[in-house]
């Protein structure tokens, strides 16, 4: 299995706070890799470093064999990194369709003026983009019925799906999903899990997933990377990770031998 993405010794700090400390992992092409960890573990910081918002203090991000550490965020989007956000980041004043079409923006070549006249190649590109989006995104994610609605009136679960649609319209090589099912009910979660699996299986798109829903992570991921306090404390198949004692400790707390002395010390002062 070839690695499409490789993160090498990434470190990132904000003032005195180390958000990421020497983080390394790889994601295999066409697979689903999940990144899990308690709140504040650095998962989103890691995503932001990969998509180019944060400039890590050291380390590098390698995509398809090329070091992209110095590539600007919008360029990374053009070469195939798409993502969604933990808090739905759709443009609320626009319709579903406009939001999704923005996902195709980076792939079009026409400039401000030619698009203004809406002529020639700009028009052709636009038509092609539209039919592509119809087929591969809107029908695929079953959001045909809401295409012309404004975002603000949509149910939360649907908004998350529109955000996924917009990322898909970018025709990414890697799809980075930041908590795609947070706040969803069971049924919505299952729908989303199915879409993610379809995206991976039918399209061969590599998926990088941050998620707290352990049931879903364990079901659909082929590899799990566990972060805690900015460090990788374990990685491997869902089965391995579940049995890893360090991971269990991170999730369940330090255990009684650690907790009790702290409490007694506090009581003494």
């Amino acid at each position: 299995m070839t690695d499409i993405l490789q993160v090498d010794n990434l470190s990132l700090s904000f003032g005195g706070i180390r958000a990421l400390n020497d983080v390394s992992f790889t994601a295999s092409k066409g697979e689903i890799t999940a990144i899990i960890g308690p709140n504040g573990a650095g998962k989103t910081s890691l995503f932001n470093s990969i998509s180019g918002f944060y400039k890590p203090d050291s380390g590098r991000v390698v995509f398809e064999g090329a070091d992209i550490s110095r590539v600007a965020a919008h360029r990374r989007a053009e070469i195939g990194l798409a993502r969604t956000f933990q808090n739905v980041a759709l443009f609320r004043g626009m319709t579903v369709l406009d939001n999704i079409k923005l996902g195709g923006h980076g792939r079009l070549k026409s400039n401000a003026l030619s698009a203004m006249w809406y002529l020639g190649s700009a028009r052709r590109e636009e038509m092609q983009l539209r039919s592509e989006i119809e087929r591969d995104v809107i029908d695929f994610l079953e959001i045909d019925h809401i295409r012309n609605q404004p975002i603000s009136g949509l149910a939360y679960g649907l908004q998350k799906r529109v955000e996924l649609a917009r990322a898909l319209a970018m025709q990414p090589k890697i799809l980075m999903l930041d908590e795609p099912v947070a706040g969803m009910n069971r049924e919505e979660t299952e729908d989303m899990a199915r879409f993610i699996l379809d995206i991976q299986e039918e399209r061969g798109i590599t998926v990088l997933l941050i998620e707290h829903d352990m049931g879903m992570v364990m079901d659909i991921s082929s590899k799990v990377v566990v972060l805690n306090f900015g460090e990788v404390i374990g990685s491997g198949t869902p089965h391995d990770v579940r049995a890893n004692p360090e991971v269990i400790r991170a999730y369940l707390g330090g255990g009684h031998d650690k907790v009790v002395p702290t409490l007694t010390e506090e009581a003494a002062t």
Binding site: H74, A77, M94, L102, H105, L108, A112, M170
Partner: protein
């Protein structure tokens, strides 16, 4: 001794007000574009107008180039200046407190003023009239032709921009970058480019407004101050609303015209502000402005 109330005069003042409101709305559009696109209130908007008028005067009157060529050259030149300003002054200030950026645009305004003064001197120049002067008559009401034509021109430009932002891909990308730069970045939108484009568009709008105002009055560095009168319009309309700019432009136009007609030109500058103040007491974000909700 009570003369009957002159309804014709009232209608005339009101109509002149509506028509001259078009130009106010156009200038307001320049402010709104930049505020919406980059979050900056550009106090140098009037200086874009001034530059436009001076560039046009130079190429059309002094160099005797044909009008359309002069217009094209002027718009291109002001757009270039706007892009340069964005690159050299605004971009390095990104992320600084709003008040610093505001001060920078005020400083920029005086600097541009100084440049114009140094290059062209403080004299008044006569611009050739560009818009047809033939008056329009509606029954007994008489409206100066330039006022009507400036309104039509402003309406055309504002409509064109509205359509551009609503339907063109770059326009939609500009809206996206304005409302959430970080997300726009992730979608592959070059936010720095859309911000540069925003400044260029505002420069073009300002230049057109400046040429029109200059051709209706006369050309002097004082033209730069004209845009400050539009502050009442953008505050009333809401800083980030094009629709607000239009409606508020017309309202202020009427108020100014009625005040000038009945109370004399001296109070003309005061009454719009007093009106705006009263309206803001009720609607603090302007008529159409986005309500900002601070989450604590």
């Amino acid at each position: 001794m009570n003369a009957p109330f002159d309804w014709i005069a009232l209608a005339e003042f009101a109509l002149i007000g509506v028509f001259s409101g078009g130009l106010l709305a156009l200038i307001a559009l320049g402010f709104v574009l930049i505020y919406k696109g980059t979050g900056v209130i550009n106090f140098a908007m009037g200086e874009f107008m001034m530059l436009g008028a001076y560039f046009f005067y130079t190429s059309h009157v002094m160099w005797k180039l044909p009008m359309w060529l002069s217009l094209a050259l002027t718009l291109a030149a002001v757009a270039a200046v706007a892009a340069l300003i964005e690159r050299a002054i605004l971009r390095p200030l990104a992320g600084q407190p709003v008040i610093s950026i505001l001060m920078a645009t005020i400083g920029l305004a005086s600097a541009l003023h100084g440049v114009v003064d140094a290059v062209w001197g403080g004299n008044n120049y006569e611009m050739p009239p560009l818009l047809p002067r033939k008056a329009f008559t509606f029954g007994e009401i008489l409206i100066p032709g330039q006022v009507v034509w400036s309104f039509i021109l402003a309406a055309l430009i504002i409509t064109a921009f509205t359509l551009y932002f609503r339907y063109s891909r770059t326009g939609i990308a500009m809206r996206a970058a304005a409302s959430d730069p970080m997300t726009a970045y992730v979608l592959g939108i070059d936010v720095r480019r859309t911000q540069r484009l925003t400044w260029m568009f505002a420069g073009v709008v300002g230049a057109v407004a400046g040429i029109v105002v200059g051709s209706m009055t006369s050309l002097s560095p004082a033209l730069g101050g004209a845009a400050l009168g539009v502050l009442a319009v953008i505050i009333l309309g809401g800083l980030d609303s094009i629709a607000g700019a239009i409606v508020a432009g017309l309202i202020i136009g009427v108020i100014e015209s009625l005040t000038a007609g009945y109370l004399g030109g001296k109070v003309r500058d005061i009454v719009p502000y007093v009106t705006v103040l009263l309206i803001l007491l009720v609607k603090p974000y302007g008529l159409f402005g986005t309500r900002q909700i601070e989450r604590l």
